[in-house]
Symmetry: C2
Subunit: 327 residues, 2 copies
């Protein structure tokens, strides 16, 4: 999991790892590889790791840690329109993760295996003197040539986002004690959104053949839209007022005096961000209804490069290179 | 990498992870999964991780660390008779692994990619306050139904091992200063064998259709033969005097007064251990010559369970449950 989206990370990948990439790795631009499967199918391969004390709190329930680990990987498969098949799991554990911990961790995996119709394909276990380090390689299936990639957006495409943005950022802030006076139900909703991503698999599958480009939002709305723009060699206009917020997020912003736009730089949304041509708008709505998840138009793709964040008057809101907006 | 083969590890897998296994995971007995590939092919999936200070020394050259990481995974593919296709790489790094470190690490990967004809398929990078933790998921191809598994041995099969046993154990002992008076060339050979496994891919591929069962030796000769016996529901007799040792290993045993049989409990050999019926002995020899690696008969499979280690007179040498021989 890329917890701290910073340029250094992407520069390191470009400099050291991109030259090593196989053709199936799509230049490492899409965070997945596509390899040939049985006739008519390709496999989508994705790997993502989480580290105790970096990506989750040491005392978090083990079952919830297991599910977050699985779901951050499934979220990438969702963005491609893939159907998950299974996963390999690496658990590098300190002595503090005893059998009680492992039992709860495995129970979390079992529950999500049932939810998502996947199975464990293999793995590795080892000991560490450091923090627990957990890694998953997830494998999904998609019709050959139909995976929705980051680089397919066209000028004039509408930009959509699923669900609501910023809940996880606010949930983490609430856990850190940065938000006071929030109703317990709202707080619980936000914390749950931080702890347990909901990979938008059904929606992603419905978008195959409709969306020109898609990405899952893990680094933050602006940063991930920036990745989609970079891969598509286009720019994007994003209307700040149109970005969908949950009632709990609105309440938390009110309570904490935090700004709406700071949510666009937070991570861990695990919603789908995608583009489609305007003439498919009604089909996108049908896909949304079929998948049972809301989808909101938040901007347009255009010639140029980078993300322009616009206020209600259509005036630009400054964004720094790391995706933080200045308001 | 299972650095310390102890029962706890296998009990944990059996108790917590085996119930989660998908059918393609082969009950987690083979340390790989097989999924359907393009017509006539299956993919072999394997994941293995290494931890700084546990599986390698913090000051080891980064390129060598990279190659060990790749090769311990390729060694498992070799045991199945697979041809490697590519790998996903997860690097969880402390701040001490700077760009100089990464450059050398990537150069090691690049060299091995050329050696083994593989490419990088994807990966994840993250930061850790703990030791560097590096994980690879390797993918290979094998003809459908032809992968050589651990559970296929038959009573009366001859047991073979490739290369020589114990070099890595002695190389590690030499690095720890436990062996004195060894010629520099012999010491270098043993240390190199510890640092850089040679996955026996060519041999493994030649064994498809010949070997009944195979495993790569990572936990130690006796322990891994035990795994093969367990998967095949058979026992094995192993003749201690027939286990092939390198000249450097013989010299190191002489210099250190260590016993020959302790080498059978050491790990990191990354040789292939396999079984085949006696009537294929000449074909095994032909495979050995074609692959350019020596292969030595060291015992036979038989009814029963567990590994019997025999001395030159055919008398049993006691072995404890963890695979350590008492001599």
């Amino acid at each position: 999991m890329t917890t701290a989206p910073h340029l250094g990370e992407f520069e390191r990948i470009a400099r050291f790892f991109a030259p090593l990439a196989a053709p199936q790795a799509l230049g490492l631009v899409d965070d997945v590889a596509l390899i040939d499967g049985p006739p008519g199918e390709q496999y989508v391969l994705k790997t993502d790791a989480i580290v105790e004390g970096v990506d989750y709190f040491p005392g978090d329930p083990p079952g919830q840690i297991a599910q977050k680990l699985l779901r951050v990987n499934l979220s990438d498969l969702a963005a491609k329109g893939a159907t998950p098949l299974g996963y390999l799991l690496t658990t590098i554990l300190p002595k503090s993760c005893d059998e009680t911990w492992l039992e709860a961790f495995a129970a979390g995996l079992a529950a999500d295996q049932a939810t998502y119709g996947i199975g464990l394909l293999g793995g590795d276990s080892s000991a560490t003197p450091g923090p627990a380090t957990l890694s998953v390689t997830a494998i999904g299936r998609v019709a050959t040539g139909k995976a929705v990639l980051r680089g397919g957006a066209k000028p004039g495409d509408l930009i959509y986002v699923s669900g609501t943005i910023g809940d996880a950022t606010l949930g983490l802030a609430a856990l850190k004690g940065e938000i006071e006076g929030l109703e317990p139900a709202a707080r619980d909703f936000l914390v749950d959104r931080y702890h347990l991503p909901q990979p938008r698999l059904a929606l992603g599958q419905k978008l195959v053949g409709l969306a020109h480009a898609a990405i899952d939002i893990s680094d933050g709305l602006i940063a991930d839209l920036g990745h989609l723009c970079g891969a598509s060699r286009l720019g994007a206009s994003l209307r700040a007022e149109d970005v969908p917020l949950s009632p709990a997020a609105r309440a938390a912003l009110e309570a904490s005096k935090k700004s709406r736009t700071m949510l666009f730089s937070g991570g861990d949304d695990y919603e789908l961000l995608f583009t489609a041509p305007p003439n498919l708008a009604y089909k996108i709505e049908a896909a949304m209804r079929a998948a049972g998840v809301t989808v909101t138009r938040i901007g347009e793709m255009e010639a140029g490069h980078g993300v322009k964040l616009l206020d209600a008057q259509g005036e630009p809101i400054p964004i720094d290179r790391a995706g933080y907006s200045h308001f």
